[in-house]
């Protein structure tokens, strides 16, 4: 046996336990969850073989159809829309605040480590603690609404996480159309630009995917939804989410700050000096040198924050007590369907949808980093 093949044998032996465990406990269970989501399984059936034989049925995409169209499942749609708005705002707040803090800390100020610790500290708390504390702070009649009275102004009246106000309203039947417009703006136009400017193969592939998705959205989903919805159903951006964004942003901004600070420290002083010598303004140094160099960090931050916010549960549960629809999230709906309604099949369907949402964020990242590796070698 040659040395190379012996090494390979050892490598395979060392890796195989974790590969097997991963295959069973991650992918196997994803598979069984996906299968469960296509049935009508209830907890009673799980508990009793007899009931299971008598009542378990394969219902295909029935649970998913019900989430999208049934008047009884408007709660799922509320959570789904909420989670999209929340993710967008939460990432934005964390990136902007984190970058700002990192730039300020990077000015070689005195006591930097103290500030760094202070800003990073909220991350050490559990989301449950954050939720409870901010619920008290946001209490309509006793919390931060009273702050203006300290300086003689009238107390604030915004109801924060219990607010019922909604802006950017749309009817649910128009959702596929809105998504397809967003796909055009976010995916189609940029990839066209890449195709024209750089003749990029990948951009062509992405463009084809986007056009396929839009065809489905406009020709199948939109008319299907129109005929299936019994009543018009208004959704929109619930202002109550601002409270959740504030609380979650407070907790996670320090983390993005730490990431950016590491990135800033990695940019050599020579580079900045060179730019300044070439007559670049201080603002120009950031715009032309520092921000472009921080781009990979921004991408990592978006991935990490995105998967936190898409799966969020504990924060909203402890802030709203569970049944507060203005800040409802799919994770909450999954928990209630599974453990309060005793309908794990529906809970599994929500879990699969959440997995797909996270996959939309993570797979392009994995793809680009896997593709990037061989080139680096």
């Amino acid at each position: 046996m040659s040395r190379g093949s012996k090494d390979r044998m050892i490598a395979i032996l060392m890796l195989s336990p974790s590969v097997v465990l991963l295959a069973i406990f991650v992918y196997g269970f994803i598979g069984s969850t996906a299968y469960m989501s296509l049935t009508n399984l209830s907890t009673q059936m799980q508990l009793s073989e007899q009931l299971r034989k008598a009542q378990e049925k394969f219902i295909g995409l029935g649970n998913y159809n019900s989430f999208m169209t049934s008047p009884l499942d408007s709660r799922f749609r509320i959570g789904f829309v909420n989670t999209l708005f929340f993710t967008l705002l939460f990432i934005l707040v964390c990136l902007v605040v984190g970058l700002l803090l990192a730039i300020l800390l990077d000015q070689k100020i005195k006591g930097e480590s103290i500030f760094r610790t202070i800003f990073l500290f909220p991350m050490a708390l559990s989301f449950v603690v954050t939720g409870v504390v901010w619920r008290w702070l946001f209490n309509q009649n006793s919390g931060i609404n009273l702050l203006p009275t300290l300086v003689g102004f009238p107390a604030g009246t915004f109801a924060w996480h219990t607010s019922q106000d909604q802006i950017l309203q749309f009817d649910w039947v128009n959702f596929p159309i809105i998504v397809s417009i967003l796909v055009v703006v976010i995916v189609v136009l940029p990839s066209l630009w890449y195709i024209v400017r750089q003749r990029s193969r990948i951009a062509m592939f992405i463009l084809a995917l986007a056009l396929l998705a839009n065809t489905y959205l406009l020709l199948i989903a939109a008319p299907g939804l129109r005929s299936a919805m019994v009543r018009p159903e208004t959704h929109g951006f619930n202002l109550a989410l601002l409270a959740v964004v504030l609380a979650a942003g407070w907790q996670m901004s320090g983390y993005t700050m730490a990431m950016y600070l590491a990135g800033l420290r990695g940019i050599s002083e020579e580079l900045r000096e060179a730019a300044r010598v070439d007559g670049c303004t201080e603002f120009g140094v950031y715009r032309r040198i520092i921000f472009p160099l921080l781009a990979p960090i921004t991408l990592s931050a978006i991935i990490i924050l995105g998967h936190i916010s898409l799966k969020i549960f504990d924060l909203v549960y402890s802030m709203g007590g569970g049944d507060l629809l203005s800040i409802d999230m799919p994770g909450m709906f999954m928990w209630f369907e599974t453990y309060r309604g005793f309908l794990p099949a529906r809970g599994a369907a929500v879990a699969i949808i959440m997995l797909l949402l996270v996959a939309v964020v993570i797979i392009p990242y994995l793809w680009s980093s896997l593709r990037g590796e061989p080139e680096n070698e």
Binding site: T43, R75, G321, S326, F336, R340
Partner: protein, 425 residues
């Protein structure tokens, strides 16, 4: 690799384990008894601990493990319980609400053991009210749990001194309530204090009983009252009108916060189960009939919405002998007189010492009179009349209704839900 010393350790541990888990078990109850509940705070935790203390005196060989899981009306505890039952690791005995919460899940899955022997041995068939026994008995006559208490859900709480100050009386119908609301609005006081979502479902069941009457209310659960009938739609309209008379910050209040607003004079009335009496007396140190007053919720005089906490013996319970002793104990008048005065509920066993004013205060004396003379219906918010699949989704419907106030659409949705969950055709 195990060396010789480790082998000896291992052997010792195996022997010890076998000993502890009762391979050499005797007939007298011994070993560990795990009691699973969601009683973690206030009077209910005290009541449970007092029962356990007395039980330990009677059965010194049994070590009771109090496995209580905290969280809003038992949702978290039921999640833990479900996971344990699915994993084949049932607690020895667990708390469950009498009615559909018990029947539609645990009995339907065949996981509860009949307790008729215990009932007969203790003579309980004569000591428990027949209506209550019917709810915990299946078609073959098997009884599955032992109730420890009775709570009333449809109680209207108020502060007598404050009502006098505002010049209003206790409304006996919802029309009167709405009129009272207008009077109170002039004084700038919300007529009703409401808390988070489940207290709104709780409020609706009182409204529905007041509007529909006992027969109409019961018909909702057996399919004889149509959810889309004008009467049922008007229950939601009334709920909307009552919410308009209430505090705006309802979603951020717990039930304690809401009840306390009445005591503080920040709202005129509150509809809450009679655990509120326990809270007023034990936690706030108030005097019944002086610091707080009560009445049946509007339109429900002569009717009693009840719920009951019970314990049973699950299939696969590790220590059934000890569970038998525990169940025989908690069903007795002695145990119920220990537990209920602390928890703030009525004894389910009719031979309990209810006339003893040292144990049961003025509120419970009057509630007990109602319990034995009123027509009894079950609670929706507390798992008696509807399966979890219905009550879970209904909570979501009430949450939507609180946002849009559309009585027609919630009635239509509830009708659809009743069909989907098999409660109506």
């Amino acid at each position: 690799m195990l060396n010789r010393r480790n082998w000896i350790y291992l052997a010792l541990m195996v022997v010890l384990l076998l000993g502890v888990t009762g391979v050499f078990a005797q007939d007298a109850p011994s070993g560990e008894l795990e009691v699973f509940s969601w009683w973690t705070g206030g009077g209910e935790a005290l009541g449970l601990e007092a029962m356990i203390a007395r039980f330990s005196e009677l059965y010194p060989d049994v070590t009771v493990v109090n496995a209580a899981v905290a969280g809003g009306s038992g949702v978290n505890a039921r999640a833990v319980l479900t996971t344990r039952m699915l994993g084949g690791d049932p607690p020895d005995t667990f708390q469950v609400h009498a009615g559909e919460e018990l029947n539609a899940v645990w009995v339907a899955a065949g996981l509860m053991q009949p307790l008729n022997d215990i009932y007969e041995a203790n003579g309980w068939l004569e000591q428990y009210p027949q209506g209550l026994l019917d709810l915990i008995t299946d078609e073959e006559g098997n009884i599955y749990v032992v109730p420890v208490n009775i709570h009333r859900s449809n109680v209207l709480w108020y502060n007598p001194a404050k009502l006098e100050e505002w010049g209003v009386t206790v409304p006996t119908t919802w029309d009167e309530f709405i009129a009272t609301c207008a009077t109170l609005a002039e004084a700038g006081v919300p007529a009703m204090a409401i808390g988070e979502n489940w207290t709104q479902v709780h409020l609706w069941e009182s409204v529905a009983l007041g509007v529909l009457g006992a027969d109409g209310y019961n018909g909702l659960w057996d399919g004889t009252t149509s959810w889309t009938s004008p009467e049922v739609i008007s229950t939601f309209e009334t709920l909307g009108a009552v919410m308009d008379c209430a505090n705006e910050d309802m979603n951020s209040l717990s039930w304690q916060d809401a009840s306390q607003r009445v005591i503080n004079g920040e709202a005129a009335f509150n509809i809450m189960g009679d655990w509120a009496a326990g809270y007023f007396i034990a936690d706030l140190g108030l005097e019944p009939n002086v610091d707080f007053g009560w009445a049946a919720s509007p339109g429900t005089s002569g009717n009693f919405i009840f719920l009951s906490d019970t314990f049973g013996l699950p299939v696969g319970s590790p220590n059934p002998t000890a569970v038998n002793a525990w169940l025989s104990f908690i069903g007795s008048a002695e145990a119920q007189d220990i537990f209920n005065p602390l928890k703030g509920s009525l004894p389910a066993n009719t031979t309990a010492d209810i006339g003893n004013a040292d144990l049961y205060n003025a509120y419970f004396q009057s509630a007990y009179t109602d319990w034995t003379s009123n027509s009894i219906v079950g609670s929706l918010a507390h798992g008696v009349v509807a399966a979890p699949a219905f009550s879970n989704a209904f909570a979501g419907l009430i949450a939507s209704f609180q946002g849009d106030g559309d009585a027609q659409s919630i009635a239509a949705n509830a009708a659809l839900l009743a069909i989907q969950t098999g409660m109506a055709q």
